[in-house]
Structures are given as C-alpha cells and as structure tokens.
Subunit: 284 residues, 4 copies
C-alpha cells in the first residue's frame, strides 16, 4: 500500500460515545478509515480499539495529529499511541548459537512480509557472525558471564541507542535479560519453546518428552522481569508421538518457533498488538 | 446477557465518514456500543460492518429504529438488516438417517450455546422420529422420490410457514433442495462432508479415500441453487493416514461435521455472518 | 469385524530376534497377523509392540494361548497382556453435574464407535439421573464430603465389583480419587480441561483466561495418585482470542473434552495404549 | 545415528506368515530390528511393511542382502526395495522465481534435518542463481518455451545423469513436466499450493480467494503425467478469514509450502514412503 496510513491504538474506561468521538475526529479532518476494530473487556471495564486511516487527503498536518487527538483523549482518560506506516521501525535481533529464527526473520524482511530495517545482530557467541556478514548486517559479539552481565547490558543498551533500535527480538537468545534492562528498554519480543505456561524456564523439550505430552508448542511474548510470564502475543502447537525422541521435538519445535515468532513480530510492527495488564488484544 | 441488544449488519459502497455516521446515530440516541467490527473489501469497493449496542437506555423506541436508520442508510446506498437479541429465532432441522448432527444441535440448544427454538424436524425417513419424541419436538416424515419432489417441497414450505421457521438447518439431509424452494426460502445452512471445493457432490469420504488425501474436512455453507457452491461460513479439517479405512473417515468426519455445523449455526444466529457475492464476512 | 482377533501388548528389554520369536509363535499356530506395530525406546532399552491376529484358523485353543505365549515371554523378561476382541469390556462413567461428556460417550457407544457395555453411572450429584434413565443405565448417587470419602469410596469399589466393571471413565467427575482407591482399581481414564502440564488442578479455564493464552486444550490420561500427573493418552487444542470470555473458553473447551476423552477411551478399549513408566505408546 | 542401517520397503499379496518369514531372515543373519511397521490394505489384499535393522553385527555382506532376500520375496510375489542409510542420496532442486522453498530445503540440509547432497539447481529463470552461488551449488538456467520443451527436457535429463541425481524436488517450479520425462525419471516430488484435489492447476490462491474458503492448504506429491494427480505424501492447512487478501493467502501459503515440502522430502529420503496404486503408506 503506497498511500501512507496513521494507526491509533487506544485503551480507555468504557463509556458511551467513544466510537462516535474517535470516528468524528477522523471524519472531521477528512480521513478515510480503512480498518477499525474494537473490543470491550467488560470485567475490566475497558474499551480497546485500533483505527487505521489514510493520510492522503487528511487535513491535519502530521505533527498536529497527536496534540489534536490528545484534546479528545484526555477527558476520556484514554491511553493511546499513534504510528505512521511510512516510519520504518528498526530491529535488533539477539541470538545465541541457533540460526533458524535469525535466517527466517531476515528472509521475511527481505521478502517484505513485514516492513522494518535490521541493522544490528547481538550475540553472546561468535557463531552466527557469518550469517550477519552474508546479509550485510552488523554483528556485535558480547560474551555474558555471571560477573560481567551488568557491564555487558550497559553496552547492549548503548548499542540499541546508537543504532536507534525500536524493537529487540530475542530469537532464541537463551539468556535472561535483567529487570533493569527491561525497565530501560521495554520493547522486547521473546520466543519460548513451549506452550506457556507449561514448561517455563530451561529445557522445555526435554521436560515435554519426560512428561509424555502428545502436543508441543511455542509462545511469542513480550519480555517482562518475570521469566516467561509476559503478555502472550501468539502461540502454536504441533502433534508429537511416542516415536519422537527429544531431538525430534527440537526439530519439530524449530518450525513452530520460526513461524510463531515471525507472526508476533509482524503483528507488533503493524501496530496490531495492544497490551493491557498482562494480556494482549491482537487486532488481526 | 440479560440486557437486550440490537445488531446492525451493513454493507455499502466505501466512502469517507461511514463509521462516524453510524456511530453518531447510535450515540445521539444514547446507545452504548458493545461490539463494533468493520471490514473493507478494497477490490469490491465495499464497506462491511457489524455493530451491536445495548437497548437499555437507548432513546428510540424499538419500532422506530429501522425507519430512523433507513434515513441514514439510503443516501449511502447501504444494504442493511437489524435484529434484536431477545427475538428468539425458530429453527427447523432437516435430517435423513444419521443422528449425530441432530443430537448435537439439540444438546447445544438445551445447553444454551445458542439461543433458538427448535419446534420442527423434517425427514425423508422415519428413523429419527424416536429422537424427536425423546426431546418433545414435532417430527414430519415426508418421503422424497423423483416423482413427488415438487408436491413434497410445497408441503415442506407450508410446514415452515405454519411453524414460523426462520432458519432451516440441513443436518445431513442428503437430498438436493430445488432452486425453486431456495428462491422461496433462502435461509438454509447445509453441512457438506468435505473441505469444499474438493469432493463436491456424493460420497466425498469414499472419494477422499480413493484419492489418498492426508486430511479430510467438513464445510458449512448457505444453500444456493448450485450444488455445494454456496457462501462458506465455516470449515475445519482433521488428519487421516493410510491406516484409516473409509469407515474411519466417516467416523472422524462425523466429529468435524458436528462442530463445523454447530459453529456456523451459532455464528448465523448471533448475526455474525454477512453474505456478499458468494463470500461471507464472519465477524467473530 | 465379525472375525474375532487376539491382541498382544508386550514390553520387554530390547534384544535381537524379538519380532521373529513373536511372529513365529503366531505363524506356527496358523494365525494371520492383521496389525503389527513396534516401537523401540532406545534410552530406556525397551522394545514395545502390539500384535493383532485373527483367531479364525488359529490352532491353539483360546485358553492355551496365554500359557503357551508365557513360555516364550518369560525368558525374554517381557511384560505382556492379551485381550480378545469379542470379550466386551464394561465401563462405569463417573460424572458430576456436566452432561456433555456423558452424552457423548453414550452416543458413541450406541453408534458402535467403540465396543463396550455401559451398565453403570456414578455421581456425587443427582442431576444426571434423568440422562441415565433416558438410556436405561443404572445411576448411583453417592454424595462426597470430607468426612465420608473413605466409606463412599468403599461403596464405589463394591459397585465396580458388583457390576464387573473393567474401566472407570471420569467424565468431568470433578473430585479427586484417593491413592488407596487407585491402588485397588487402577483402570481409570480422566479428562482434564487443560493442555497438561499447564493448569494442573482447579479452574484451568479461569487461569488460562488470566494468563492470556492464545490456545486452550484438554488432556485424557490415566489417573494416578498424583493429581493430573498420570500417563497422557491424548491431547488436543483450540485457538482462542481476546474476544473469548471465560464462558467462551468453557464452551470451546467442552468440544475438546468430548472428543479427546472419546478418542482416549476408544484407543484404550482397542488395546492400543501401552503404559510404561509415566509415558504411553499409542499404537494408532 | 552412526551405526548404519538397512531398510526394506515391501508390498506383497497378503498371506499368513509374512512377518515371521521376513523377521526370521533378519534374525537368522544376526540383525537387530530397530523399526518395524506394517499395514494391511484389506480391500486391495495387500500387505505393506517397512523394516529397518542395524548393519553392525549383520552377518550377510551388504552385496549379498538383495539376492538373499530375493529368494524369500519371489515366492511371496513381493515387490521390494532396499536402501542403506549411509548411501547419501543426491537431490536436484528445480525452481522458478520464488526462493522460499529453495532456501528452506538448503537450510534443512545444512542443519542435517535430512541427509542428502544438493549438487544441482535447475531453473527456467536466472533470478535465483545468486542463491545457488551463496551456497556453492551449481545452477543451470534452461529457459522453457512451447517450442523448445523437448530439447530442454533432454538437456535436463542429461544433467540429472551427469550429476548422478536420485531425486528431483520441484520447489515451486511452476512448469509442467512432460509424460515422457516422468517415464524416464520418475523420482520427482512436487509441491502444489492447495489442499488437493481442490484447485488443481494454475492460480490456486486466487481461486481459493474467489471461492471464499476459510482454510487453505498445500500438498506434496509424487509427480505423475496427470497434473496434480500423483500419490500424496503430505498435506497441511492454515485458517484464513475475510480479512485475508490474495496476497495474504500467498504469504500464509508460503509457510505451508515450505514445511509440507520439507516433511515430504524428509520422509522420502528416510525411505518411509511406500507407493502403491495412486496411494502412499507413510511409515512415520
């Protein structure tokens, strides 16, 4: 879609007239809504919505949209954010030694399945530098030990700032990111290789094998200070049987991890994910 | 939900201000929107939406809503319909000899998975009369032959009128309903035991077996004069293997047929299905 | 299948010649193998197999098959059991107040999806007596309190003996069966309304909702003294979204519970489930 | 698994003693069976089996296994083939302009998800030469027109011979391979972007969109002279909705095509696929 769009993600206490007020704001300024979706969480008393409209023909200059909308949003007690489709987000992919999610994300970005730049790969291992070079992406190798974690995270944070990164994707990074780091840079999507909340933590495939489950899964979620407990964006599963050894679970799981992480990254980049509490609304 | 709601299903040529105009109509009359979903089919240039609001506190008397909304809809060139959640639809279930979908629909209606009355079962066989009696539902046995089809359909139509039926569910009826009949009573949902458009027509499980497929399916669709070609509401599938004989496909398929038909009936009864051309928008 | 068959389920330490020895035993006596499947668990050093052959034309009288096979099995250190397809197992279904799994199992038994008798329903509530009467099945209402559990389980055990029950199916029984009871009657299949090991214990749908999962599941397993920790026979899942309230999870979950429990019961009754350690081999 | 194995795939008219005769042959020569699976197609009167055993400790020299087994197989009227796990098959991947399946197959081969060599890529377009070079694989660009098809196929056949190719994988080749070619080189796996038999031929995603299906699929099958009608090895599906444009079907479909084709290639290379008539037995 060549015509750029603006997208509003809004959550506010439920009350009469919300749809009308928001739609009027866009219509009054000559905007053409192309997608609008809303959800009411009755238990929480919350109205949540995503509205996307074409900027072509919209009478408000781009820099005035936020202040103008704020005049409407503030009396409603709304939390909101606005993004423009022609502002290209910048992603840093963090990896350890496994390359399947990395390759997959790069392939999808090249194939324009999502619109983003990937200027930076960070890893605690040197192994995947060759992949980075193959695709002309900077590769920063920062070993992590118990003793150097604080300095290395400071270093990582500086890299994110220098590279103007908007989103960190933990593509099988296999390290815990500290509470402090997440407080400073909260836009982090992680892929965990189980259908959470089953098998939180290390070695989920081994534990799935031992438990004798007939289905394994993968979960993409926003990282929070509590391990594998952040808001879930996407999950998927695949059947396994007694014939599958742990190494088969790992192999089948890789296909899940790839696709679940890619879907979550795409949904996030298209501003389709609205987090509230520890839940997500995914406007598909 | 004790509080009754009104639901509008609207399709109209895409243009600026549609969301605002519709939302304003509801807000101006004091309505509280609890669900709103829209879709734009860019190729067809169509805007399609479903809006549901609480009637409690809505200032327009119920009988004036339609004419008042028409004043807005007509200039937009919109097709629309309105339904009220406390108007209970009446279903006639048509069966042949298989009882699994019949039992399932009755169980779900009793369990209030959907809100409807089932006053009538029509069949070309006497076999399931015992089920009808078990649940206190009238059973009309009308044999169908090549020669008597026209008279029997006239009889069926009269039954639908006498019982004030809103929806016919072909729950494995195994007979073709004529073009004429559908013209006179178009609200018909059929379940076909294949993932359409594969295996249109008779004996889909036998043909699936012969083709050696690894997945079988079921499809719920609105009946149209062209066999198994109507707008699809819902589909689902299940894996099969070389170990499955035709009778296993039939058994596995029954589980699909049940759940796919029940989902379609529920979506229809909740006014979540909007048909345009030969396609459906399902507002889930 | 009119021709009766014998089925051997065997597990024994892996060693050369196992398939040959077992197949020779059947061939030497004129048996025609119609299904044979084997699995080797290399980590456990175990060979596990299921062999089914036609009794028609088998030269050993039925009562001599077990002792004759024992002469082969003992030197191999094998655990084994034999069942004949024309011995009809007898099931007791235990329920609480929900009827969906009960109805479903009765329907499938009537439809001959599995071959068994269901002479007895046990419940801690009187509610489903009407279903039992509808199908001519004895209904025993035994209230369970903290104080009377020991006596009531004694009573339940006596009922199982009197009715010559082979298998107990906990079809949403919602009570914990004691360690003692399971020791005395270990043939128990339970349905748990989550994809175990997620959401062990009470209220799994509420907890799934709070966790914000995108997939819910159901698990059929053999009951063991540890809550929801027994060998898993079958699992399945369904997608949910932010639009699904807890009551929607319950509704969608019921469809899963039905089909997962039914598959597990059918696999068990066809002697397709071999338990070893806390795992199952399911010979499909 | 370092220890090499032999695998027999056998189909023969059903008769008593087949399992015993085959197992005895292996046991008598000191072989240790690690996988054995059989299937009986009662309608066809066929016994089909796959047996894999360790060559380590097997007393027959490798070159004598086939003639020795033939002495057993011939009187049974059996068709059979034997393969050794340490004979590495050689694959030619044929592509057109889309790179997703090509990248995926190369990644999986590099990750050792299957054991094979990929010395050759053939294409009717020059576009993917860069991928071939990136991974050090020979790339043969052979344009196909109505007029030159016969000569080009002769050229392709010569390439397959020169490169000692065992298997051709049509990884979105988008061209019809002639009856003559298939007669000369029948080991061809194709990926078709629909759940066959729906949408045989060109533009399946466009036709799926027009038909308004709620599920799309992909099918891997052996190529036969009849278009998209060969024995099916593997299929899978994904849900779509009214929100998915044709380009979304294409995107979602690519994920299916990748994984379905990869599973089929892996199953074939592990000698798990037995074709008879137009059906496959997949010994998983």
């Amino acid at each position: 879609m060549i015509n750029p769009t603006a997208t509003l993600l809004i959550s506010c206490p439920d009350q009469r007239g919300l749809v009308a007020k928001i739609a009027n704001f866009i219509y009054a300024n000559g905007g053409n809504i192309i997608h609008a979706d809303q959800h009411t969480d009755f238990a929480a008393g919350l109205f949540l919505t995503r509205i996307e409209w074409q900027l072509n023909g919209f009478n408000l200059p781009r820099e005035l949209i936020a202040p103008a909308f704020n005049a409407i949003a503030q009396p409603l007690g709304a939390k909101w954010e606005i993004r423009f489709s022609d502002t290209i987000p910048r992603i840093a992919i963090w990896v350890s030694r496994q390359d399947h999610c990395l390759f997959d994300l790069i392939w999808r970005q090249r194939a324009k399945e999502f619109i983003a730049e990937i200027p930076l790969i960070i890893s605690n291992h040197p192994n995947l530098k060759v992949v980075a070079e193959q695709f002309g992406i900077d590769y920063q190798h920062l070993t992590i030990t118990k003793d150097n974690k604080i300095e290395q995270e400071a270093q990582q944070l500086e890299l994110l700032q220098n590279y103007k990164i908007d989103l960190v994707v933990l593509a099988k990074y296999m390290q815990i990111v500290s509470r402090d780091f997440i407080a400073k840079f909260p836009q982090i999507i992680n892929i965990h290789h189980s259908f959470l909340p089953a098998f939180v933590g290390a070695n989920p495939y081994h534990r799935a094998f031992e438990r004798g489950v007939k289905i394994i899964g993968a979960t993409a979620h926003y990282a929070t200070p509590d391990l594998d407990a952040g808001p879930i964006i996407e999950q998927d599963v695949v059947r396994v049987s007694h014939r599958d050894e742990v190494e088969d679970l790992v192999r089948k799981g890789k296909d899940l991890e790839r696709v679940v992480l890619a879907r979550a990254v795409r949904l996030h980049l298209q501003n389709r994910v609205l987090v509230y509490g520890n839940r997500t609304v995914v406007f598909e």
